[in-house]
Structures are given as C-alpha cells and as structure tokens.
Amino acid sequence: MKRRAGAMELVGGAMVLSLIAVALLAPWLAPHNPIRAVAPTFGNPAPPSWAFPMGTDELGRDVLSRVIYGARISLTVGVAAMAITMTIGVGIGLVAGFFGGTVDFLLMRFTDVMLTLPGLLLAMAFVSVLRPSLLSILLVIGIVSWTGIARVVRAEALSMAQRDFVLGARALGASSPRLIICHVLPNVMPIIIVMAALGTSGTLLLDASLSFLGLGVPPPTPSWGRMIEQATMYFRVAPWLAAFPGLAIFYAVLAFNLLGYGVLRRRSA
C-alpha cells in the first residue's frame, strides 16, 4: 500500500517536472516561432505531418510550438494563482482556527458567503471589469478559489490550537503571531502541500476555462484554453487543433492530481 502511494507521487512528480522543463526550455524545444506563420494554411488548418507533428492552425502557426509555449502560461498561471490562493486561504484558515470564537465565526461566515458564489461566474465578472492580462487572471483566480483551503486549514488549526505543545508555548509567553507562524503553521504544512498540488490542477482548469471564454491572457501569447477556443471554429474540419492543447491540459491536470493524491495517500497510510 505504502509502495503504491509512493509510485503515484513519483509519477506525478516526474510529470510535473517534465512540464516545468518544457516550459523553461520552450525556446529550444519548439521547432518554430509560435506566433509567426510558418505554413500558408490560412483559414484552412493543415493536419499533422512530418514537418508539423501537430499540424498548423488557421493563421499558419505551428501547433506543436504553440502547445510547448502554452505550457509557460498555463504553469505560470497555475502555480502563481495557487500561491495567491494559498496565501489568502491559509491566512484566513489559520487566524479563524487559532483564535476561534467571534473571529472564527465572522471569517467562516464570510468564507461561506464566498463559497455560495459560483467561481467561474465570479471570475468572469472580475476579468470583465479588470481587462484580461496575466496579472488580472492570477489575482482573479486567487480571489475565487481560496475558500476550500481556508476551511481545511481552519479545521486543522482549530485542533492544533488546543494541543499541549501550543498551550505550552503560550504558557511560556509566546505571542499569538509567533504561535501561529512557528507552531501551528509547520504542523498544518503537510495538508497545505497536498491542497496546493490538488488546487493547482483546479486553477489550471479555471485558467483554461477563462481563456476558452476569451477572458484569458490576450493574443498572440499562446495559451491552451485560448487555443481550444479558437479551434472550436474549426472543430469539424480540423479536430486536431483542439485535441492537442486539450491533451496538454489533461496531462498537466493529471500530473498535479497524481502528485497531490500521492502525497495525501502516503500521509494517511
């Protein structure tokens, strides 16, 4: 059981590393410039061939190069948005769980309210107001996806706050911020890591959805969601345009999910 959990997390980790490598090495890995027309297939996308293994799109761009460069945007958004999500979620969860009482009540009711708002719609509303850019996408995804993390962290912090080592430190005169940062946080860290890995796949999907709805990073920057959105116009005649970025999203989401569940299973095993 324990060995299987390890395999899962290893595979997930390797997949995540491969994604990071592709993103970092994009200029060397991509056979063509992802923005320029490299084949005259305007309005008439070309199927995969030896020269262009994933075909070319309606503007004559190489799909393989675009998928490779798309990893940069997707990973940046996925990971950076997760960092924002984590900062907000962990902060609120820790404070609510540690202090309890009225603070807990107010923060958790606020969280409940945020939970009732559908994430995608809220994100669409925010992006429409802010104007799509990399920064606004990051912020918006961070703002709409912290609630689940806050609840989990709060539950952990609530039990930690009553543990002897925390009570002991408090008796020795440690201040609340010190107790939270030096004693509670390190002990809820494992669950945060799991949530972060699992959450990243969520933010990747949310980014893809926003891009699909035309609210993602503006063109010509290649992003997987946008590639699929533009491919819908050619779905009947050129299904590969949607299939390859779709597979890339599938791969990335699977990678982070495997990693997250792997860590989770090992922890509970």
């Binding site: 027309a37 503007l59 819908t232 005649v237």
Partner: protein, 545 residues
Amino acid sequence: MKCARLASAYRGRAAGAIWMLAAAAMLLAVSGCSREGDGLGLPKGSSVLRLADADDVPTLDPAVGYDTLSWSFEQEIFSTLVRYGDADIELHPDVALSWESSPDATVFTFHLRKDVRFSNGRPVTARDFRYEIERVLSPATRSKGIEYFRSIAGAGDFIAGRTRHVAGIVIPDPYTIVFHLTAPDPLFAHKLAMPFAAAVPREVVERWGHDFSRHVVGSGPFMLKQWIGAERIVLVKNPWYFVKGLPRVDAIVDQIGVGPELGWLKFEAGQIDILGGIPPAEFPYVMSTPRLRRLTLSQTTISTTYLGMNCQMAPFTDVRVRRAFNYAVNKQKLIAVLNGRGVVARGVMPPNLPGYDPGLRGYAYHPARARRLLEQAKIGPDFHPTLWLRADPTTVILAESIQQDLELVGVHLDLKPVAWGPLLEAIRQPHNVELFLSGWEADFPDPENFLGVLLSKQQWGGNNDTFYSNPRVDELLAEAAPMTDLKKRYKLYDQAEKIVVADAPWVFLFHPVSYVIRQPWVHGVVLNPMRPTRFERVWLSPHRE
C-alpha cells in the same frame, strides 16, 4: 449608428460562449416541442417560413429601429414611398407609383397608389407618410433617423415646436406628397426608402403610445400576429396587401434565442428554413460539402472593413507610417483566413457602390517597402501600438493575422478586444485610440455615404473616427454633395478618394461577403447587398418537416 448595424451581424465572444452552454440546454428543451406553426391558429396546410435569431428584435417601430434585425421585420410589416429591389440597389415604386424631382433637387413630388390599405383595412394616404416623418423629427420620439429629414424646409421650426406640421411637406391631395428642401439633395428619395419614412396609422400610434412597437399596424406584405418577448415573433399574411399574389407564404415564425451553433443544429435537423449567417465554425465544413454548398447564397455587401489610424496621434500623424501599415498588412491572407468571405479593398468605396473607381490602385502587400518607410519615419524597434477591436472570435483572428504581418516589419501590435459599445465610445474621443478595426455599411448607394460620412472634417467626433482632415478633400466633398449630374458627381468623389488613399488614414482591408443557407424546399430567396433579405416572394415546395 450605421456601423452599429454592421456590427449586429457579428456576435460577441462572451455571448457566443454563453450560447454554447445555453445551446445544449435549449436543445433538450426544444426537442420535445411540437412543430412550428402549431398553436398559431393557422389553417391546416398553411405554409410557414421558419427563421431563427439569436437576439430579440429591438423594436418594430419604424421611427425607432436602426439595426439589421429591426429593419428585416419592419420592411415586411410596413411600406414606404419607394424601396430597393429584392436584389438590387435601384429605387423602385412601393406606395408611390411615380415620382419626380426638380432639376436642382430641392423639390420632390410623389404620386401614391390609391389601393393601399393598412392591415386593419384603413386606406393609406399621403398624411400617413407625413405623420411618420413628423414622428421621426419630433424630439420626443428620440429617433436616430432625425438627421435624414432635417433638410426638409420648416423642419427646424417643427422640431422647436413652433409649427404643427413641417411646412416643407405639402399634401395637395390625399394621394400626392411634395417635399421642399432647404438645399439640393439628389439622394433625398433614397432617404425615403428607409423604414423611418414608412406609412404609419396615426390612430394606432396614439392608442398605444410607447407600446406601439408591440402593436404595429402597417401596409406591408405581412402583419404582426404574435410577439412573445425573447421567444418568438409570428407574422402572417396581410390580406390587404396591395401587390396581388404576395406574400407567397402564409406566415413567418421567427424563433428568438437561437444562437449560431443551435441555429445550425436546427437547420441540419430541418427545423429552420433559412439560416442567415452560417456560424464561422461550420463555414469550412459547409463549403467543403457539395450538398450543403449548393444551398448557400452569397452577396458582396456594400461595406468596407478597415483598420483606422488616428491621424492626430503620433506617430500616425506621419503619412509614411500610415502608408507603411498599408504595405505591411497582407489582405489576401485576411480573405484566406475568412475562407474567401471578402474582397480585397483598394480604397474606401466597395466595388458594387455606384461611383466606385475601378482604376484605383491602392496598396499592394510589400513588407520591404513598409520597413523602408518605417525606417524613414524613424520608428524604432520598441514601437508597441495598441489595436482596439470588437471582442468576437472572427475579428480576433483577423487582428491576430494583422499582428503577425506587422511583427514582420518590426511593429509589435498589442490587441485590445472590447465590447462593441465601449469600442464605439472610445474611438469617438480624440487622442484616445491610435488604432482600431471597424467597418461601415452603406445606408444609401452613394459615395457621400462613405467619403462624406467617414472622412470629412465635419464628422470629427461623429463618424470620422480617424480624425483625418484634408482641406482639399473637404472642398471636393462639399462640391460633390449637391451635384445632380451623376457623372460629374462621381468624378469629384473619385478625386477625393484618390487623395484619401494617398493620405492613408485607414488600412483599406476588405469588403465582406455575406452568406446564407436555405433548405432545398425554399425558393425565391435573394440577397440584397445593402438591406436584409425580403420574404414576400419566398415560397416553399412540399416537404417533410
């Protein structure tokens, strides 16, 4: 204004996305419905033409409507003094059997048919036309058509409330109407072909007030039977229509809330007879499938799509930069990206506009020349202009193609897709938007409607969104506008256009070609290059639904 009408042919990206979601849900809901025509109280065996539109019709009040969708229904319900042919842009008699104008184009006289009746049976007279034009001129109506009739003598006094009627509209007998203008206007009869000048029964308007739009009565081939907001509009044959034997179908049912994708599915299922606008997603498939290709009709519209450059904002103040952009953009590629749905533009005027100059050379695709011009203008490698455009998938692809082309000459274009309303707002402010993608569709088949409306200094802050000005062009336009000798008139406009092309306030892109698809059992559909399709001559052969 008119460019907003052009835009209504496109569909917003967000709306499109929401439609994709809605389409699935609606398909489930609709699939259980009974056949169209049921529950309408039509006799068994009636022939019903089934249409579909994404959006509800904004209005059916001819004094108010100024968009393609409203006009497509208004022209079925109402009749005007003169009208365009089904497929041409010549003026034909409608209610007026004949008309004449004074040699100086300041007095226009129309002689009306005596057998025209509203769908409630009441005869139509010249007063009904005067009443509608006065409604349009009345500030309370807030009609966008007011500009077209300001040139009638006495219009100013009427608008100010100083007179009961417009002094320049004279009715010597119930079947004659005479218009006196304050300045020569050879195009005046064309203005009377717009729904703004349709015959409208005063008693019905006064009975319903602002609600007239929902209870319209006109003298056109069809009459309104039912309009359930955001669900459907049903028109039935007007029994009093003055052209015998028309319309050929008994009713038109327009289903509202059917987006392009759902519309396509319903068309393929045989539930829609004519689909105006094949969704971009399906276009390549339709054209590569002979069975479907045969069912399509196409028409080059009298419109021009262009990339506007703000001539008051550096570096676009420099004509070399503007010319460089013209040489840098590959227009053939844009047409290819549109799967052939366009004709390359060489200047301002579309090829099927009277007065079009076939000798105009325009700008060929020549990136090397573009680079040279940019170097001469001292444009550095850090030039990052922003192109504003409508956020709709097709427009974004076109913009990306332009972005690619400019990248090759060292210009890094940023794209700013926004909704149509904010785009129009933004480009009307001086010193605000340096580059934008826009288009213009003719209201009348005359060069004035392009050159005068879009490029004269008078229209700064109006429709001249590039804030272009050349005193010589303004002189030529002023000279041409009142000219009734068409040959001389067009010559002057052609001269003006040549100067405009040399000054290059736009990148002249293309003239769009519109497509519709109809079922094999639908006959008599023709497209007009400037107006929505008319349905009174359309007929259906027996078929299984």
